[in-house]
Symmetry: C2
Subunit: 290 residues, 2 copies
């Protein structure tokens, strides 16, 4: 049986586990803090590789940042990772094959193979965390675009430059649908500039009107964005993942979207592939491509 | 040499021509007004078919409305065509193969094969007319979605229900980027509720401030929408077609998009495949699929 080492490398931590071609994890998931410099990241990866090299057939990395269509290099920005990260030549670190893909794409692939969108050949995954990530599957293939960086959820939600976005422009979906977007919406409803995302969630649980209102507006914004994506992609389903997805009423959004779409009814699911969907998805993609 | 009869069936007219597998038109393009009832449309198609049946290998229809993934039936709404149009069983009208596809998809395919986006495996075509149509090509294949109706350009441009759209919701890209959207923008800039799209274009030529302003806002809205699509699709290029595209400064929009995209630089082209791109694209798609 072939095995891969799945590696999920994010802004704060690295998780690694041995994965088979069915998406099963073998043994323990090892975790490391993400080092602060490129050099230390390379050292950490070398240590991981030397430890597992004899146990696996290849390495599969789910990484922040866009990945090229050859699955060999990070391209574009990786705001949460150190300068120079994207210059790492991962393949040079091992004699086994080293495969990489964007972490949101990996998670979307894991949902498609073993999770909430299993069997849905056309699906859109939205990762609702501090920001918003996206992984889009069309006809059973990841949408990569000409350079590999497709699937960015920076489409406009306003023409009026109302709210700045991490991408440098204004009013992107991310600026409203993310955890940070919820916080900004709550600043408007609570008139408290220091309100945190946690405050809003706690306040909503405690039935504080202004927090309930913020959560409602936030979900409406997510629904509007999903409606637009439903009209563009006519997907079998959407999958919501990330730390914020549990606060979304998927049934309510599904009803809104299906009432208003000009394509055909779709479904909206909570993610099911678990906390290690990134490294599992990387491994499963690697099994297809290597 | 194989030949198809390309048929473009729109809300006001039907155009037909013999097309080869290189997209060349043979002989004249015949035109008919689109009849007002389903029964008369079927009669007209029967007449066309009996006239050309011995000259061609198959029939290829570019039609208003979404078309299923088997390319046999119209699904979804066709606002400009009579009730019952989508129930027509086109294949029953002839013993030769009868292939159909949505007209915007056909035009996008013609641009990809012989026009402005020739050789661009990832492209987005926007048809700017009374409304806005879309045809999206990913990795050399039309984006169809689960049912065939993908590519609808109804994504939100505002969260505030500022402008109603033909789709029944508010503030879609179509409601701003279409000819009708330009008219609505001009109503705001000129304070004249009776202003027409033609008036705006003429006024802009005559350097009327309010009309120049409307045209500027309209192009900004198109640019915002294209930026969002560039971030989602990371395409090689965009192609603008339809009656309104000649009023768009593609270079200006390209500059704006490439300054602000989080993916990689793209190109924006005027359409090149001509007035018969719909029937040519239908034929070329038919040659691939039949």
């Amino acid at each position: 049986m072939k095995k891969a080492l799945g590696i999920d490398l994010g802004g704060t931590k690295i998780a690694v586990a041995i994965v088979d071609d069915k998406g099963n994890i073998f043994g323990n998931v090892e975790r490391f803090p993400t080092p602060k410099t490129k050099k230390e990241i390379v050292e950490t990866l070398k240590n991981i590789i030397s430890k597992y090299e004899n146990e696996v057939d290849f390495f599969a990395l789910a990484t922040a940042g866009a990945v090229n269509n050859e699955n060999t290099r990070v391209i574009g920005s990786t705001a949460n990772l150190p300068k120079g990260y994207k210059d790492i030549d991962f393949q040079s670190l091992t004699n086994k094959k080293f495969f990489l893909e964007n972490d949101a794409n990996c998670a979307a692939w894991a949902e498609y193979k073993i999770g909430a969108s299993k069997g849905c050949k056309n699906s859109v995954m939205l990762t609702l965390g501090t920001g918003v990530g996206g992984g889009i599957i069309i006809d059973g293939k990841l949408l990569k675009g000409k350079s590999g960086s497709a699937g960015e959820m920076h489409f406009m939600m306003s023409r009026n430059q109302e709210r700045s976005c991490t991408c440098g422009t204004f009013d992107c979906f991310e600026a409203y649908a993310s955890g940070n977007g919820l916080r900004k919406t709550a600043i408007e409803t609570t008139k408290n500039p220091d309100v945190t995302t946690y405050d809003v969630i706690q306040g909503a649980k405690d039935n504080v009107d202004t927090c309930l209102k913020a959560l409602e507006i936030w979900q409406n914004d997510i629904a509007l964005g999903i409606l637009g994506l439903a009209n563009i992609f006519d997907p079998d389903c959407f999958v919501l993942s990330g730390s914020m997805e549990k606060f979304v009423d998927t049934k309510k959004i599904e009803k809104f979207v299906n009432k208003n779409t000009v394509t055909t009814p779709t479904k909206i699911f909570h993610a099911k592939a678990g906390n290690y969907s990134g490294l599992i998805g990387a491994a499963l993609l690697g099994f297809e491509k290597i």
